[in-house]
Symmetry: C2
Subunit: 305 residues, 2 copies
Amino acid sequence: MKRGAATLPLAAGLLFLGPWSVLLAQTPPPKPLTSAEVLAASTAADWRALDPADTLYLDLAAGRVVIELSRVHAPQHVAAIKTLARARYWDGLAINRLQDNFVAQWGDPENKKPLPKLAPMPPEFSRAIAPDVPFSALPDADGWARQVGFTQGMAAARSATEQWLVHCYGALGVGRDNEPESGLGNELYVVIGQSPRQLDGNVAVVGKVWRGMELLASLPRGTAGGLGLYEKVEQRVPIRSLRLASDVPAAERTTLEVLREDREVFARFVESRRNRRDGWYVKPAGHIDVCNIAVPVREVAASGP
Amino acid sequence: MKRGAATLPLAAGLLFLGPWSVLLAQTPPPKPLTSAEVLAASTAADWRALDPADTLYLDLAAGRVVIELSRVHAPQHVAAIKTLARARYWDGLAINRLQDNFVAQWGDPENKKPLPKLAPMPPEFSRAIAPDVPFSALPDADGWARQVGFTQGMAAARSATEQWLVHCYGALGVGRDNEPESGLGNELYVVIGQSPRQLDGNVAVVGKVWRGMELLASLPRGTAGGLGLYEKVEQRVPIRSLRLASDVPAAERTTLEVLREDREVFARFVESRRNRRDGWYVKPAGHIDVCNIAVPVREVAASGP
């Protein structure tokens, strides 16, 4: 019944053997586990703390959205975003676009607010594979890319030579005009619906929302321009502040840890999502899509400054 | 770069040649078209009117959600849902579950409201393939099923012998307890995020939302039980009425037409989504996922009784 499970994962494993496949082969789980059982058996070393220097807090009246940036995948756009955050560029601007089953977007649609000086940037739609670029391959087939997997807990894909972050729920991307070089980092969007993978390779994905997606996804949809833009300025959702976590006093930080994809427990977690062992399921899928894996995240007590 | 585009669609076309593949082979588009260009060239015969006898109106304070039922795929659950709608079972009940990136669900969580008499039902998780069961195959590979495509404009999948509706954004499913036969049709859910395809074959998908998804997807998320249940009864979203369109006066109906998947224009529309020709895109994907195709729907003037 499952084409993918029968043939493609094996071929993928042989052609693109990654650390994950190795781990799976070395230590097959003694018995099928539920996701809860897998996580209950995790240790401190299986979790990675977000680096405050690479973490954004988008503070709205409804609460905080916590976003991690990927310097590895979009160093120049990430640097620009940090410059913008430090300049308090977005504070007082607003979320102005909510397109159903697509994106929530914020910025300055009237281009009134002066931008701090930003260096010209290449598109950063993808980057070259290199030994120091982390990637844990998923053995499951993907229709959009030769290979998919995870890097920093973010869904990613690879060709023979390039690697890029893909558009799953919660992905943070850099809005741009028609010119590939036109994305400066001041217009940002987050995916709020079915993964729009057709955008992969067409835009710079620069990070991922780890907490607060429900605050973005539950906003009223806009109706203007066929793009989900709010018709009226007063419908826009004000941004109280968008700051780097490292610029926020320690007592005001949200301290999150993410399950590390290079640990055996991650492979076991994925298997628990690929073939559900909860009592409710009668038919395990035998497959998982990279965008159907919600990488575990947890809040921990802040360690202080 | 794209594994799927290179090999799998060809194999799929050879193994499971459907009407769609035939149409594509007979009449390749003279030049690549945008989706807007494809639809602008459609004719009246390319569209199918929803049958009021198979259409539900979920009326909320915020507006109307229009849902089509599939008698072909779940005849007994659809019959039960019609019985429940005619008994005004849901009127005054509420949407009580909003799980982010998963489902909106309604019913009677306290089981207080008497159910009309319903016959026992088989699970209807899938049905046998038969000559009179429509299916237009998508040539693109799918990780979850041997073959995917469309039936009544709804995303569907096939094994060698069975066919079922799949969990894409907007799919309507029948909630159930752990026993496969426990879904009566009184608890209904709609997919509001990334397609939870792991549910396929585990639950009866019985229809699709054609209009008003934004009314469900923008509701506040619930926080109880790890299931998105609203904590408090007053958070629930009241259902003004849930009626069959055929039980609603003609002047109060919402008259929709859906692009027919057995028409050449549909194949051209899919190709316009598979390889975007808008000026914005620099890299056509060469692939499309069955859940990434928003089947076109339009409102027309009611013809009246």
